[in-house]
């Protein structure tokens, strides 16, 4: 049967199991596209294992990790990643399932953290409030849910875009309230210090390792709860209003109430993450809850796949481990940067002849350029490389690094963006040709600007931004999500 076969049966008497048989759809499983080569193999393997066993394996892996004698730093990265994962899980309810663009989400996280910090520290002792964690966490989580209801109220009347603005403003308002407006109670710029650790029932969590375990438990718990919810009456109604709110209301779904529930649920998860964050950090400040962090949460969800529980968690773990665990170290960062370029070339450039041509020309191009620059002035090539290790020795004599690299680096960056844009415009031979200077320029920009220690944090943000933009175009379903269609109405 050809791919073009449709389901329209021949107009003969309808009889037998063949009627209405839709070959194209029936064979959908066989026609599914997988990622290339070994990645596809892994994908198939993962699909064979059901959702619950997969969760079990992942949870076990998470719990075993500290036994491998990892250091405090690695554990802290793990905790931060798990906090992000929890946040991405909550955001997935509002954005991924219900399709409500909540740009004030980070304020719920902040509210949870500030709420816990207020009632479980000496901040309000004068008023006689200093609650134990086992009491304050539920209270704060429920309060965050109520705040979510309040913020979601405008969503009853407003569709997508308007809601985005309102919530964005709400996030900004939260920042200003904590930072300036209510600075006497909330500590202003300095925030709140001396927050209680999690304790109660005779135990007290103090070590990084203990918090790591606690976060694993919370994340796995949230995944279980959300999974049970996803295919229930509530979860279905969330996904229904995302696809078509008007049809949903004609099908007995009270759209307003369902939207509010999505808001409140997302907020509660964020509030929970906030309490853990505050307890573990001991001190919090308004700058922990900025738009930058919001965008980080979004990047995690988009990378992993909006609408997918596993995706939200995987996206957060991957992104944060890469950004925080690896990119802190300039040498590793260099490996990652050049590694990605090489992998991209290996995957995208076919046939091998073309790949060899590009690689060869790039090498020759670099040495030639370096020789010319060195001949003109020694100061043009006398700067030091940012990369260390064997990459540095491989690149020395190839990539130009001027003695004063700042200005050229800036222009290189602008030019690189222009080149990338141009690269997207042209095809065929021109593209192959253009690829050579682009690769060289990328290396140049890295060594002079992006890879420098002073710029490391900015580079990370740029990477987050690029992840968002590129994912939306190239793979909007993210790593683990399923592709969605939307019928324009």
């Amino acid at each position: 049967m050809s791919q073009l076969a449709t389901d329209e049966p021949a107009p003969v008497a309808p009889a037998g199991p063949q009627v209405g048989a839709d070959e194209w759809v029936a064979r959908q499983a066989q026609r599914r596209e997988y990622l290339p080569s070994w990645l596809g193999g892994t994908e198939r393997l993962v699909e064979k294992v059901g959702w619950w066993p997969r969760l079990g394996l992942a949870a076990a892996a998470g719990l075993v990790l500290p036994l491998l004698h990892v250091g405090q730093f690695q554990l802290q990265v793990g905790i931060d990643s798990l906090v992000l994962a929890l946040l991405a899980l909550g955001l997935n309810v509002t954005v991924g399932w219900a399709g409500l663009l909540d740009l004030g989400y980070v304020a719920f996280f902040g509210f949870g953290a500030y709420g816990f910090a207020l009632v479980s520290s000496d901040q309000l002792s004068a008023q006689g409030v200093h609650w134990p964690a086992y009491f304050s966490i539920p209270v704060v989580v429920v309060a965050t849910g109520l705040l979510g209801l309040l913020v979601g109220l405008p969503s009853r009347r407003l569709s997508g875009d308007y809601l985005a603005i309102i919530t964005l403003f709400f996030g900004e308002a939260f920042y200003e309230i904590t930072n300036t407006v209510a600075s006497s109670k909330l500590g202003g710029e300095d925030g709140i210090v001396g927050i209680d650790p999690i304790r109660g029932f005779g135990v007290q969590l103090l070590s990084t390792e203990q918090y790591y375990y606690l976060m694993v438990i919370f994340v796995v718990g949230a995944m279980i709860v959300l999974r049970l919810l996803e295919f229930s009456r509530t979860g279905r109604s969330w996904r229904a209003i995302r696809d078509d709110p008007l049809a949903a209301s004609a099908m007995t779904i009270s759209v307003d109430k369902v939207k509010l529930m999505a808001f409140a649920f997302g907020a509660m998860v964020a509030g929970l993450a906030g309490t853990e964050f505050a307890a573990q950090q001991v001190s919090i400040a308004p700058t922990d809850f900025t738009t930058q962090y919001l965008i980080m949460i979004y990047a995690c969800l988009i990378l992993g796949g909006a609408g997918s529980i596993g995706g939200a968690v995987a996206g957060a773990l991957v992104l944060n481990v890469v950004l925080d665990g690896i990119l802190r170290n300039p040498t590793y960062t260099g490996y990652l940067f050049y590694g990605l370029i090489v992998i991209a070339l290996l995957v995208k450039l076919r046939p091998w002849r073309r790949l060899a041509l590009v690689a060869g020309s790039t090498i020759v191009f670099g040495y030639a350029l370096h020789a010319i620059a060195a001949a003109i002035s020694h100061s043009w090539v006398s700067g030091s490389l940012q990369s260390g290790g064997w990459i540095a020795s491989a690149l020395r004599g190839w990539v130009i690094v001027p003695a004063s690299a700042t200005g050229p680096g800036d222009w290189g960056f602008v030019l690189l963006i222009c080149m990338l844009i141009a690269l997207a415009q042209v095809h065929g031979r021109t593209r192959t040709l253009l690829l050579v200077p682009t690769i060289y320029l990328a290396a140049f920009t890295w060594e002079t600007l992006l890879g420098t220690p002073t710029n490391a944090s900015i580079t990370r943000y740029i990477i987050i931004a690029v992840v968002l933009i590129v994912m939306m175009i190239a793979r909007p379903q993210g790593l683990l999500g399923t592709r969605r269609v939307e019928v324009p109405t």
Partner: protein, 305 residues
């Protein structure tokens, strides 16, 4: 009374800035139904362009070209470069998403905004860049009416803002390009069937809207003297509010909304406290959205089923 009038003048000037940003925002929303969150950051880029042009021509204190020429160059360069940036943004980030789920371009817009803010940080540094406007345009050489003074930069902003808005209105209502823009805004598919080059029209809208933001950035630099990489965020947010209060997609609405927000801000700062400005503007937005979701000059549209 004179304090009131002075605050009014200041408010109208800031309002003109917001209106310029809101115009571009509203135009883009009109054709693509997209909230371009990166629009405020285009304004920031415009501000930086103005700063570097002053520097290239000798710096505020030691200019080697006449001031009118400098100001002209600043505005033209900001308009062209930022306009081009807007077109590139549309071409490479938004166009691939024309038929994607509604939420996709919004997320892209957040990404672009974040990208621009951090690229500016990388290239221009974290320090405040200062225009030093008084070194080449005297603030005192304005008009004095009683105790109310309107300085020369304010006059320039008001006059230019007025001309730009009138010009834009004429462009949209009188020219062929304007007609095409309105057609695309009303129904993209139908416009395409009537032979309108939709891609070109959308690009033109992005160019115009972004150029306005760039011009506003230069004006802001001249007025407030400083630029840094995150000025776009709040200004963008205020301009969104202006566009929404006026009625999104409506050009006169954007102007009206901009002026209202500017004046409100000025009075809140003057009579209450600058701490509450953003919160109160936020309050205005919520009230307008709940009471009149279509904005003051917007028309209600019933979803066709």
């Amino acid at each position: 009374m004179s304090f009131f009038l002075q605050e009014l003048v200041n408010g109208v000037t800031t309002g003109a800035l917001y209106a310029l940003i809101a115009l571009g925002f509203s135009m883009v929303y009109g054709v693509l139904k997209l909230l371009n969150f990166a629009h405020g950051d285009l304004y920031m880029v415009g501000g930086y362009i103005g700063f570097f042009i002053i520097r290239w021509f000798g710096g505020a204190a030691k200019l080697f070209i006449p001031v009118p020429l400098l100001v002209t160059i600043m505005f033209v360069a900001a308009a062209v470069v930022v306009g081009g940036l807007g077109v590139a943004m549309e071409r490479f980030a938004y166009r691939p998403l024309r038929n994607a789920p509604r939420i996709a371009p919004l997320i892209t817009a957040i990404g672009i905004s974040f990208f621009l803010e951090n690229a500016a940080l990388l290239l221009f540094g974290a320090q405040y860049r200062v225009y030093n406007t008084p070194d080449f345009i005297s603030y005192s050489s304005g008009i004095q009416i009683g105790s109310v003074s309107i300085d020369s930069v304010q006059i320039m902003v008001l006059v230019m803002g007025l001309f730009i808005m009138i010009g834009l209105q004429q462009l949209i209502n009188r020219t062929k390009l304007g007609k095409q823009m309105r057609a695309v805004a009303a129904d993209r598919e139908a416009a395409e069937m009537f032979g309108i080059n939709v891609n070109f029209t959308i690009a033109a809208v992005f160019f115009l809207g972004s150029a306005l933001a760039g011009v506003a950035g230069v004006m802001a630099g001249l007025l407030f003297n400083t630029v840094y990489n995150t000025i776009g965020f709040l200004a963008g947010l205020k301009a969104f509010t202006a566009a929404v209060v006026g009625g999104i997609g409506s050009i006169p609405g954007a102007m009206l909304g901009g002026l209202m927000i500017g004046i409100a801000e000025s009075f809140i700062t003057g009579y209450i406290s600058s701490i509450y400005v953003d919160l109160i503007v936020f309050g205005i937005l919520i009230v307008v959205m709940l009471v009149r979701p279509t904005g003051l000059l917007g028309r209600a549209q019933l979803q066709k089923v």
